[in-house]
């Protein structure tokens, strides 16, 4: 078990190293010049060149990358070009808000998605099933900013149940979480539905019925645990999906998380911040996958961590 964990952590570190390289090269290739952004439109070429020198942007790529890696190894993610602050402290200030949003979105999507999936599977090919699947289809296909604005209009502006934006109370959390979770809920409901239907047709359900068990017990004790197995691995991968959603949803709801930070940084070519946010989300995805792989054997005794 510990050997497995160590090996997986080692692998995760390698993956992250690969990600730093790819993002670094990509950002290097971007045709926008951060020095020009800092200096402003009216600055002379000499000023810009001066800033480039100061930031070390004139060094070869390899030198720049090595400088970044050695800094990262010491916990130094660099300084923002534009915000006069350490990237790490910028991220640290905004990470809790994003994590809160993410966790509550995961809970939302699992509750909505799994419930819909189970109900649809038990009522398959009936009107209830069809309407639920139409709902999930809409949830998957509608862009998140449209859903976000729609929810804002109906529940914040018209009904006044929730605040229009901001951060602080539980009420602030509801609409962003639902917006973010709805996409995942759509996917999960479809996966859970087909997974449930598959298990319902398995021999073990026939045995459970032959044992004279109640329908409720068969569904909750025999079908659902078996149906949820393939979904656990998906939750790990899902965190990656969230990262893209978070940028949009945080902008719509004025949520002060790293999504907003990333959005601002991208607009202004603030490369150290972009790198920092990318690293944080990559770490989240890698850890999410690791967590899913560690949880799976707790539920399925057939999987051994070796």
């Amino acid at each position: 078990m510990w050997a497995y964990l160590l090996r997986r952590l080692f692998e995760s570190a390698l993956i992250l190293l690969g990600i730093t390289f790819v993002t670094f090269v990509l950002l290097y290739l971007v045709p926008a010049d951060p020095a020009r952004q800092i200096a402003g439109r009216s600055a002379t070429a000499a000023t810009v060149e001066n800033i480039r020198d100061q930031l070390g942007l004139n060094d070869p790529l390899v030198v720049q990358y090595w400088r970044y890696l050695t800094g990262l190894a010491q916990g130094d993610m660099g300084r923002s070009y534009l915000q006069r602050a350490e990237v790490s402290s910028l991220i640290a200030a905004r990470l809790p808000a994003s994590l809160l949003l993410m966790v509550s979105a995961i809970v939302t999507e699992l509750i909505i998605g799994l419930t819909i999936g189970v109900v649809a599977a038990l009522r398959r090919n009936r009107p209830v099933d069809h309407s639920l699947m139409i709902f999930s289809f809409v949830a998957i296909s509608a862009p998140q900013f449209v859903i976000g604005i729609l929810l804002l209009y109906v529940f914040a502006v018209q009904l006044g149940w929730f605040p229009i934006g901001g951060y602080g109370t539980f009420a602030h959390l509801v609409l962003p979480s639902v917006t973010l979770g709805l996409l995942g809920a759509g996917w999960y409901s479809r996966m859970m539905r087909s997974s449930m239907i598959e298990v319902l047709n398995q021999d073990l359900v026939r045995t459970a019925r032959a044992k004279g068990l109640s329908k409720l017990r068969i569904v909750t004790r025999h079908v659902m645990p078996n149906a949820i197995l393939p979904i656990i691995a998906m939750i790990g991968i899902d965190i990656g999906l969230f990262m893209s959603g978070i940028v949009v949803v945080e902008s719509v709801f004025g949520w002060p998380g790293i999504g907003q930070l990333a959005w601002q940084a991208i607009q202004r070519v603030d490369i150290p911040v972009i790198m920092g946010v990318t690293m944080v989300s990559a770490t989240a995805i890698v850890l999410g996958n690791l967590l899913a792989d560690l949880v799976a054997p707790l539920i399925d005794p057939r999987i051994k961590t070796k």
């Binding site: 045995t207 019925r209 004279g212 068990l213 017990r217 025999h222 005794p301 057939r302």
Partner: protein
């Protein structure tokens, strides 16, 4: 078939009455009757066998009695199923729940998929006990342990906390039986309970069912396709075909003098151990396959750097040869490595040692250099449904090997396909059809045609007839025999079925845990077995003759516990074979 005149043993108390039971299944073309007016009585303590081939309606009958017919496709169109004063047809789900397990319990064919992989044995047994209020929550564990002891499970305390995947197939079926008997039901329905098990395990499970039945006085409804099992277990038999009763008779009467044509044909098709005709000695002395010191090992990795921590010694130091026109049978129970040998011959798994095909060494050859050699050796697998591509017409599949090897093209392919189809007894009109339009036996013929397309010298038949009904099995075996006589084919016949092997083999190699324990001419190995394992295998085969009692199984202390997995650097002790007589060699002691 009704009434008391043909009631078997037991005290004559009627537990189940089935009258005019008719089951219909909805299909695209309307309702099809899969069971037509079946009537029978079941008496306490007796065993009634419902025998028949696939599609006979025997499993549907079992499900109907349990109230488990697949909804909404199948329904009971008419008839009655009564237990005492209770009419079961039309009983609602709530009412049926009290009947299931409590009064009628059922065990199924696949003990692995029938158990819940995520629950311990203890929880799965306790669930039944608590659901039907057999005992209080606090006493359930103790009761579950008792049940495991009743089904003679080794180390019952440890089994309670284990999960199904940690048990062998036989142990799983014992757990299923324990669960079925938890509420001491009046009727036990066993739907092909031993079909998925090895023959020695089958013998043990059948013995167990019989013992428990005698102890509890349970009435047993045995659903099976295996006439050997029928002969061994049943008091009375109902032979079904296509949902209709062909014959209903006490077991001895049926086997001694079947009245219906179908029952007669069915019994005649059953391969019997020791009843096979003599086979002429293969005329050709040329060896087409020579295998020397073949080993196949699979690594198991783990640890910090995913290093190899152990190896499965699937095949260990095996040597054999096959001559022209000869059939060599590889026999052994699941996991003994027999199929792995077939795959090694075709280069489908990495192997060590030496394999010569037609005198040419294949070791160290590149894939490209192997190709022409592989033309001489083709394979026919167990499940013809799974080994054909559902989206390609059978005609194309049959000549695909020719295309791949660049041996024919255009109209030549079409001619060849027609010729191959005629060769295996199929009409060339069917060439453009797809696999789902064929029956199981026809599909296996298609697979044989495909194997023949390259005019091979050797065909590896890996359990090629095991999934087929007996009557179809006999036809496919005849086809293989005919091809051998006419084309001079050699076969490597891999099977677990001793009776089939008796019919087809010239020589037999018995394998256990990746090694050969006995080999020699068929008559020597099967009539005069020297190794205890071979004896055990032979003794376990059910005899399709109710007047002959199968001898008790020789003791197998510790045999099930052995495993072919060894730490890196160690391996199994090589089994040494000793000459018994001309060409007959066996290990002297159990390895």
């Amino acid at each position: 078939m009704s009434g008391a005149e043909d009631i078997g043993p037991g005290d004559g108390r009627l537990v189940l009455t089935v009258r005019d039971l008719t089951i219909q299944v909805a299909t695209e073309t309307g309702a099809t009757t899969v069971l037509d007016a079946l009537s029978f009585d079941l008496v306490r303590g007796e065993t009634l066998a419902l025998a028949g081939e696939s599609g006979s309606g025997k499993s549907m009958t079992a499900l109907a009695i349990m109230g488990l017919l697949p909804q909404p496709m199948a329904r009971i169109a008419q008839g009655s199923i009564r237990m005492g004063d209770t009419e079961l047809t039309g009983l609602g789900e709530r009412g049926y729940r009290k009947v299931r397990s409590n009064r009628i319990a059922m065990i199924f064919q696949e003990p692995m998929t029938s158990l819940n992989p995520l629950m311990t044995v203890e929880r799965q047994i306790c669930e039944v006990l608590l659901e039907h209020g057999v005992c209080a929550r606090g006493a359930a564990s103790k009761r579950a342990l008792r049940l495991l002891q009743d089904v003679r499970l080794t180390e019952p305390e440890r089994r309670l906390s284990q999960y199904p995947h940690e048990l062998s197939g036989g142990m799983r079926q014992r757990v299923m039986i324990a669960m079925a008997l938890a509420c001491d039901p009046e009727i036990l329905i066993a739907d092909e309970p031993t079909t998925a098990l090895d023959v020695t395990v089958q013998a043990e499970i059948l013995d167990l069912i019989r013992t428990l039945q005698a102890e509890h006085g349970t009435a047993l409804l045995m659903i099976t396709h295996d006439m050997g099992v029928v002969a061994e277990m049943a008091d009375r038999v109902i032979v079904l075909r296509d949902g209709k009763v062909e014959e209903s008779a006490p077991v001895r009467e049926l086997f001694a003098a079947p009245r219906s044509d179908y029952a007669r044909a069915l019994l005649a098709a059953v391969p019997q151990l020791g009843a096979a005709p003599d086979r002429p000695a293969p005329s050709g002395a040329r060896k087409v396959i020579e295998v020397d010191d073949l080993s196949v090992r699979f690594d198991i990795s783990g640890g910090l750097f995913n290093r190899t921590v152990a190896r499965v010694h699937a095949v260990e130091g095996i040597s054999f040869y096959i001559r022209e026109r000869e059939t060599l049978a590889l026999v052994g129970e699941s996991g003994c490595g027999k199929s792995t040998i077939g795959k090694a011959l075709l280069g489908l798994v990495p192997w060590e040692g030496s394999i010569r095909i037609g005198g040419v060494q294949t070791r160290g050859r590149s894939r490209a250099a192997m190709r022409p050699l592989l033309r001489d050796i083709q394979m026919v697998f167990q499940d013809p449904g799974a080994s054909l591509d559902a989206r390609m017409s059978v005609g194309e599949q049959v000549v695909e090997p020719l295309r791949v090897h660049g041996l024919a093209s255009g109209s030549e392919l079409a001619d060849r396909a027609e010729w191959l189809f005629r060769r295996v007894g199929l009409s060339p009109d069917m060439l453009s059809r797809y696999p789902h339009e064929f029956s199981g036996g026809q599909r296996q013929r298609v697979c044989v045609a495909r194997a023949l397309s390259l005019s091979p010298k050797v065909i590896v038949a890996d359990e090629s007839v095991s999934a087929l009904d007996v009557s179809v099995q006999a036809q496919v075996l005849d086809l293989l025999q005919e091809l051998q006589e006419e084309d001079g084919l050699s076969y490597l016949f891999i099977s677990h079925d001793m009776a089939v092997i008796d019919q087809v083999a010239d020589r037999v190699v018995v394998m256990r845990l990746g090694e050969v324990v006995e080999e020699g001419p068929r008559d020597a190995v099967l009539r005069d077995p020297r190794h205890p394992y071979t004896r055990r295998l032979l003794a376990a085969v059910p005899v399709p003759d109710p007047t002959r009692q199968r001898p008790p199984l020789p003791d197998a202390a510790g045999i099930e516990e052995d495993s072919p997995i060894f730490a890196v650097g160690s391996g199994p002790a090589r089994v040494e074979l000793h000459d018994m007589s001309q060409g007959h060699r066996a290990a002297l002691t159990a390895p």
